[in-house]
Symmetry: C2
């Protein structure tokens, strides 16, 4: 218990920093796309709503970047942050659930900038099984443990109805998949060997209504 | 600058607590649905992957809850957290963009438990304009400043293509809308009088790949 008690705030703090770095990376991609070559921490402040000192401290956690009074060179800073976030290598993703939200994701550009590529899709709709979506083969969800290429896949994106998420997470854990992201608005217990993150709009809506109250 | 420097970590910390409370609320709804009447902080720990002491500290920030050694009564704890998060009152929501992600949201159950109701929809698809979706009238996006019922609407959910988000946020700010949530993977500057939150899957994917690296 004391062990956990000491560790938790640090893990939380580190996750906050990592999340902000991920936000900075998005901004740098945006600036790079506009042809901007040097960015100051005050530029990042304006765009992301954090403070200059926070940007500097976040970056300083991972070594020295930039030149005082000049700023950070955009391509080099992008590269260094991408390395910290692991986005400098290619990640193979399995999409589990290709309807609704899964379908939106499949057609979004979210994955490209982060070096993620969907290599397999699983779904339970007979209309989709055996075909391909965006050039990616769609397998039968019922055959997940047989047809998932666990040696090739790094990450699972789980877009299935809430009651099915826990079972699929357990199944993926047993198959050795190390990371998953799911969208259902419900708690899920992660297997020991697995990092399971959740994007839940209701959580953010709670933060929003708190701020407006 | 020093003012901001002092304030930032506190605001960050408070947002973290609020986000966790929003997660606890989700868990309590889940437990309530199962007929569970009393929950201990160690139960919350098992479900949400936080520590007992953190749950207790988060709750203690807002007064005294529960009975030591017995636990927290689920309905009362739910009610108190809902009040902190502002979910004890009804919020009127405008959905801007009813295709793709907007369409998924429209058919999800995310809003109900949080006392949010969509009262207007705006879209630019002629096939949708003038009709209704799930019983909610769809207006022409081009008529936003004329047809948005700004006195009635509290929150905007913005599900439009990334390049359009900033313009819409600015427009909503001018109309006096106080809060918005958007899904595009790009930075947006919030008008002075407005709280603008973002749900961006690429941010979470960056956190996930960092953990797996």
């Amino acid at each position: 218990m004391t062990h956990k008690r000491r560790r938790q705030p640090k893990a939380d703090k580190k996750d906050l920093i990592i999340r902000r770095l991920s936000v900075y990376l998005r901004t740098l991609d945006h600036l790079k796309g506009k042809g901007v070559e040097v960015v100051s921490s005050s530029d990042l402040e304006k765009i992301e709503g954090v403070t200059q000192s926070l940007v500097r401290r976040d970056l300083a956690n991972f070594g020295t970047f930039g030149v005082r009074g000049v700023g950070y060179p955009v391509p080099a800073l992008r590269e260094q942050i991408a390395r910290i976030l692991g986005c400098d290598r290619l990640w193979n993703v399995v999409l589990i659930g290709a309807g609704g939200f899964g379908s939106v994701l499949l057609h979004s550009e979210s994955f490209q900038g982060r070096n993620l590529q969907i290599v397999q899709i699983f779904d339970n709709d007979p209309q989709r099984i055996g075909k391909s979506l965006e050039g990616i083969p769609v397998h039968d969800m019922a055959q997940l443990d047989r047809e998932l290429d666990a040696r090739r896949v790094d990450i699972a994106i789980i877009a299935v109805p809430p009651p099915e998420v826990q079972r699929i997470v357990n199944q993926l854990g047993q198959m050795g998949i190390r990371g998953a992201l799911y969208f259902a608005s419900r708690p899920v217990t992660a297997p020991e060997n697995m990092v399971v993150l959740n994007v839940d709009i209701t959580i953010e809506l709670g933060v929003l209504t708190h701020h407006l109250s």
